[in-house]
């Protein structure tokens, strides 16, 4: 049986993947869960899973893809098990460059994030992978285990909903 060797912890590749992926994964999970602490928990759990399975990855260069899928799965499980998640939405963090535009930008940002929260799960996942991680349709399909056509369909619907939030006044 494949066992992760003790020295895996020293594997430089792990360090590279960690530095490359951890911030983005927490960002992605926070958009899905709307809870920073929960997002960090989920990503840390996913990294432990990755470390345990490191030597069984058929292609270590796909560690990032494996991690994305694991984070998505763990985040879904967390949402499912915590039916009250929607009531625990954290205040949105709004960053603006100019105090003059702050009110307007904040309003628009709040609307868009509320629209993201209101998307059906698959649409939300597709939107986060596209607009936060900048993944292609194919990469999103791989991460979510769905057909590219389905990804396009989800993204089309998500974009329409989010665009409406942008255009609201």
């Amino acid at each position: 049986m494949a066992v992760v060797p003790e020295d895996t912890a020293d594997d430089e590749a792990v360090v590279v993947v960690f530095h490359r992926e951890y911030p983005a994964m927490v960002g992605m999970a926070s958009l899905l869960l709307r809870d920073r602490a929960a997002a960090e928990d989920v990503v840390q759990e996913a990294f432990v899973c990755l470390l345990l399975k490191w030597d069984r990855l058929r292609d270590p260069s796909k560690a990032g893809a494996y991690l994305r899928t694991t984070v998505l799965n763990v985040a879904r499980g967390r949402l499912r098990r915590d039916r009250t998640a929607q009531r625990k939405l954290r205040p949105l963090r709004v960053v603006v460059d100019s105090t003059e535009d702050a009110a307007l930008a904040s309003t628009e940002h709040v609307r868009v994030m509320a629209a993201v929260d209101g998307l059906p799960r698959r649409q939300r996942e597709c939107a986060v992978l596209r607009y936060y991680l900048d993944l292609s349709d194919g990469e999103i399909a791989e991460a979510l285990g769905m057909a590219i056509g389905s990804v396009k369909s989800h993204l089309h619907r998500a974009r329409a909903a989010l665009e409406a939030a942008l255009e609201e006044r």
Binding site: M1, V48, R76, G77, R80, M113, R121, M146, S150, L166
Partner: protein, 233 residues
């Protein structure tokens, strides 16, 4: 003037939490991974003892494939408790790592031949149930085929690889119209199953990639009689 997509990207990035990749955190995660691995090792003896209880109850003669201690995650106690609910499958000696379950769900790691017998190295996964629990091999009372749009993803909480033997006449089935079954359309296509040979199964690595959810059905002797390659979306 920014495009809609650019504006959305901006909002998503502003809405996401910042979290630096801290070396100390990585050390903590490594330590946790080591702790879990060691926990599996140290619980080996305990699991073997638990398995022996089941053997007594079921009248089975369980034989490990190589006789060596196995790594078993302690989070899988259902293996011992639920197996007792499926006594109809337990009248013959166990085959390889078969634990008496009628069905199993997971991912194929390898299909290979050994002493004129087809073997499959299998990574069991757990299916999330409606109540937020997890179901795995011995819990299933019907073939756990994961197909179509599903809100029930699988998780893998146990690193143990199991080796099962396939019957020479085992059915291996793939979905011909996988894309249609994963469509976001309101009407999802019914899977169209196509039988492939075991040679095709063994050589068709792309048929059981990381995302293929494989349902196994065992005969009463513990041989795999059906391999169903599916994929939820």
């Amino acid at each position: 003037m920014s495009t809609t997509d650019d504006r959305l990207r901006d909002h998503f990035h502003r809405g996401a939490a910042d979290a630096p990749a801290d070396e100390a955190l990585l050390d903590t995660l490594r330590a946790e991974a080591l702790r879990r691995r060691r926990r599996r090792r140290t619980t080996t003896a305990g699991f073997v003892a638990a398995a022996a209880v089941v053997v007594t109850v079921l009248g089975l003669a369980v034989v490990n494939s190589d006789g060596s201690p196995e790594e078993v995650d302690v989070v899988a106690p259902t293996t011992t408790t639920t197996t007792t609910t499926t006594p109809t499958t337990t009248t013959a000696p166990a085959t390889r790592d078969w634990d008496g379950a009628r069905f199993d769900l997971g991912r194929i790691e390898r299909v290979h031949r050994e002493d004129d017998e087809w073997l499959v190295d299998f990574d069991r996964v757990q299916l999330t149930t409606d109540d937020g629990g997890l179901a795995s091999g011995p819990d299933f009372t019907e073939e756990p085929v994961v197909v179509g749009n599903t809100d029930e993803p699988t998780v893998n909480e146990n690193l143990r690889l199991r080796t099962y033997a396939l019957r020479p006449d085992a059915e291996a089935l793939v979905i011909d119209n996988l894309r249609d079954t994963c469509s976001y359309l309101e009407t999802w296509a019914t899977p169209r199953w196509r039988r492939i040979t075991l040679d095709e199964l063994a050589s068709g690595r792309e048929l059981w990639d990381e995302f293929t959810q494989v349902a196994l059905t065992f005969d009463p002797q513990g041989y795999v009689m059906r391999v169903r390659l599916a994929s939820g979306c």
